[in-house]
């Protein structure tokens, strides 16, 4: 091949390469990154009775550039105990739910990874199938179960275990059950992926060297499945902190969660700047878990 033709071809490939890279990069920058910049911008503006309901940050009036940065929304969040309580409530509820998910999900994933290849496939489908149906409807199912005259109370009353119906609906308990139920598959999946990759020879070696089962578990299995534990926990914890549907349907007045507060601030109070500030603070709180998850995930990409 002529060198000039070759270099022309290489140049064309280079151009094509750039275009291919640009496509997802531009789309995501426009529809994922830029929106966050706007949230930050609007969180710094003042609420106004206008369409859209916020004031301008940068104004060009009488040949002077006025930049009005307004930290008032953030100060407002800090001064109102409702918001602080909502953040705290979200973090606490999400943390407990993640822990419960891990305690249920780990033995499940472990048992799955120990079965034959054919069973693994079937069990994996069985675990994932609920998450493909409908999130909303799966939460709705618990409304009929946990209610005062719901199935669980009827069952317990029928068995004579309780005399009066327990109040389970609209409590923190119901919210945690809802989160665990909705997000359990996302905990099991990465755990299973890690545990099934685990080399049996390592466990046998440990056992041959006289290590007890519990000791082997703590020193070999657990460290080797750490990636799965982190990924699974983050896949549950981060969305759970911002959860709206579950506290709205299963929670009550005493289960304050930030996702629900943000929703109400936006849709009911139409206070876009405060809603934006709420989102920014939530993002800040979740930054460390998100970075953690991303580190793990990009390692998976580059492996």
């Amino acid at each position: 091949m002529m060198p000039s033709r070759l270099s022309a071809m290489l140049k064309r490939w280079q151009l094509g390469r750039r275009a291919v890279i640009a496509l997802p990069l531009v789309w995501l920058t426009l529809f994922f990154l830029l929106p966050f910049v706007l949230v930050l911008k609007i969180s710094l503006s003042e609420a106004a009775i206008a369409v859209p309901p916020y004031g301008a940050l940068v104004e060009y009036v009488d040949q002077t550039l006025n930049i009005a940065l307004n930290l008032g929304n953030y100060l407002f969040l800090a001064s109102d105990s409702l918001y602080v309580a909502a953040y705290w409530g979200s973090l606490k509820t999400a943390f407990i739910a993640t822990l419960v998910c891990l305690l249920i999900g780990y033995p499940m994933a472990y048992a799955m990874a120990r079965t034959s290849a054919r069973w693994q496939m079937i069990l994996l489908l069985l675990v994932m199938l609920p998450s493909w149906t409908s999130f909303l409807i799966r939460i709705y199912a618990w409304m009929g179960i946990l209610g005062n005259s719901g199935l669980l109370n009827n069952l317990l009353l029928g068995l004579g275990l309780i005399d009066a119906p327990l109040r389970m609906m609209n409590t923190q308990f119901a919210v945690i059950i809802g989160i665990v139920y909705a997000y359990l598959p996302f905990m099991v999946l990465p755990l299973y992926a890690h545990l099934t990759r685990l080399d049996n020879a390592l466990l046998e070696a440990a056992s041959d060297l006289g290590s007890r089962k519990l000791n082997t578990f703590i020193k070999v299995t657990l460290p080797l499945s750490m990636g799965g534990i982190i990924a699974g926990s983050m896949l549950v914890f981060i969305p759970a902190v911002g959860e709206f549907v579950i506290p709205e349907l299963l929670g009550g007045p005493d289960t304050l969660m930030i996702g629900k507060v943000l929703w109400e601030e936006f849709f009911n109070n139409r206070d876009w700047p405060v809603a934006s500030a709420l989102a920014m603070v939530m993002l800040l709180l979740l930054l460390i878990p998100i970075v953690w998850f991303h580190r793990y995930q990009s390692r998976e990409f580059n492996e």
């Binding site: 071809m9 094509g16 390469r17 291919v20 496509l23 997802p24 990069l25 995501l28 920058t29 529809f31 990154l33 929106p35 706007l38 949230v39 609007i42 859209p52 249920i104 033995p107 499940m108 048992a111 069990l123 489908l125 199938l129 609920p130 493909w132 149906t133 409908s134 909303l136 409807i137 709705y140 199912a141 409304m143 009929g144 179960i145 209610g147 005259s149 719901g150 009827n154 139920y181 359990l184 598959p185 046998e204 969305p239 709206f244 549907v245 709205e248 943000l262 929703w263 936006f266 849709f267 934006s276 989102a279 939530m282 998100i290 991303h294 995930q297 990009s298 998976e300 990409f301 492996e303």
Partner: protein, 279 residues
């Protein structure tokens, strides 16, 4: 390990209990969809009247149609974008903007929906102010929002498949003079097509299921199925929703069964082929 006498393992018990926990509530939904009484918790005889009412509900039917259309277009676009992103991430080595791209591809997986929804709405409002587009929000804006977060899921599914396959096949094609574009469409794409199908299906169900993001970016008049179900469920339990739930569970189960069957048949075929070439 194989010498251990058959006994009930703690982990197996937990697996069964976990699966019961996942399936009993859905079973309850299905059973009570056939209840004659309007009260969802009291059984008063078998009836299919709620299915009849469901199919007469114009609002639900039109919402189903709208959701299906949005999910179809979002999944299709997400597969294109997500596959390109996955290909770039796994095959292009180092390039400028790689960190930015990998961050933007994985972040939507865990981003709380309220944040994504709010931020996209603010973008659309701002864009409408500056460029006059989108003049009103509805199917188009939901499609953009769904495509964006679904393409992240597609990218993860496709990237894991791209990492698994043998690079030497693509290299062989390139060595024989096939340009990159041709290699991608004639060699890489056929190999990863199962992952594309899986990614499309995942994106389709995610889009169909989304309530929060759609509620933010939708405008008046554009109601997706989750939005209609949510406003009904907020008022309390209703057997009509149980009937809808049963149909959804049935559809997803059937689709999963078919996918599983196809997968197993392909696997068997591949094994046979391997055996034939070995002989």
């Amino acid at each position: 390990m194989s010498l251990a006498r058959p006994r009930i393992r703690f982990t197996s018990v937990m697996l069964v209990m976990g699966l019961l926990f996942l399936y009993v509530p859905m079973l309850v939904l299905v059973v009570y969809s056939f209840n004659a009484s309007k009260l969802v918790t009291v059984w008063s005889g078998f009836s299919t009247q709620w299915y009849g009412e469901l199919f007469r509900d114009e609002q639900i039917l039109s919402a189903i149609w709208m959701s299906l259309r949005i999910a179809f277009f979002s999944a299709s676009m997400a597969v294109c974008l997500g596959t390109i992103a996955a290909f770039v991430m796994t095959r292009y080595g180092r390039f400028r903007g790689k960190t930015a791209l990998s961050t933007m591809v994985t972040a939507p997986l865990v981003m709380p929906e309220v944040i994504t929804g709010l931020s996209l709405l603010l973008l659309f409002v701002q864009m409408a102010q500056i460029t006059g587009w989108p003049a009103d929000r509805g199917m188009m804006t939901i499609w953009i929002a769904h495509t964006t977060f679904c393409s992240a899921y597609v990218a993860v599914v496709v990237a894991s498949r791209l990492r698994e396959i043998d690079l030497s096949i693509e290299e062989a094609a390139m060595d024989l003079g096939s340009p990159p574009m041709k290699t991608f469409f004639w060699v890489t794409l056929p190999i990863i097509s199962p992952a594309l199908a899986a990614g499309w299906l995942l994106a389709f169900t995610l889009s169909l299921d989304d309530l929060v993001i759609a509620s933010f970016v939708s405008g008046p008049g554009a109601n997706t199925l989750p939005m209609v179900v949510f406003s009904s469920v907020r008022m309390g339990v209703s057997p009509k929703i149980n009937a809808l739930a049963t149909l959804i569970i049935l559809t997803v189960s059937l689709a999963t069964l078919v996918a599983w069957y196809v997968m197993r048949r392909n696997e068997a075929k591949r094994k046979q082929l391997l055996k034939a070439t070995a002989d």
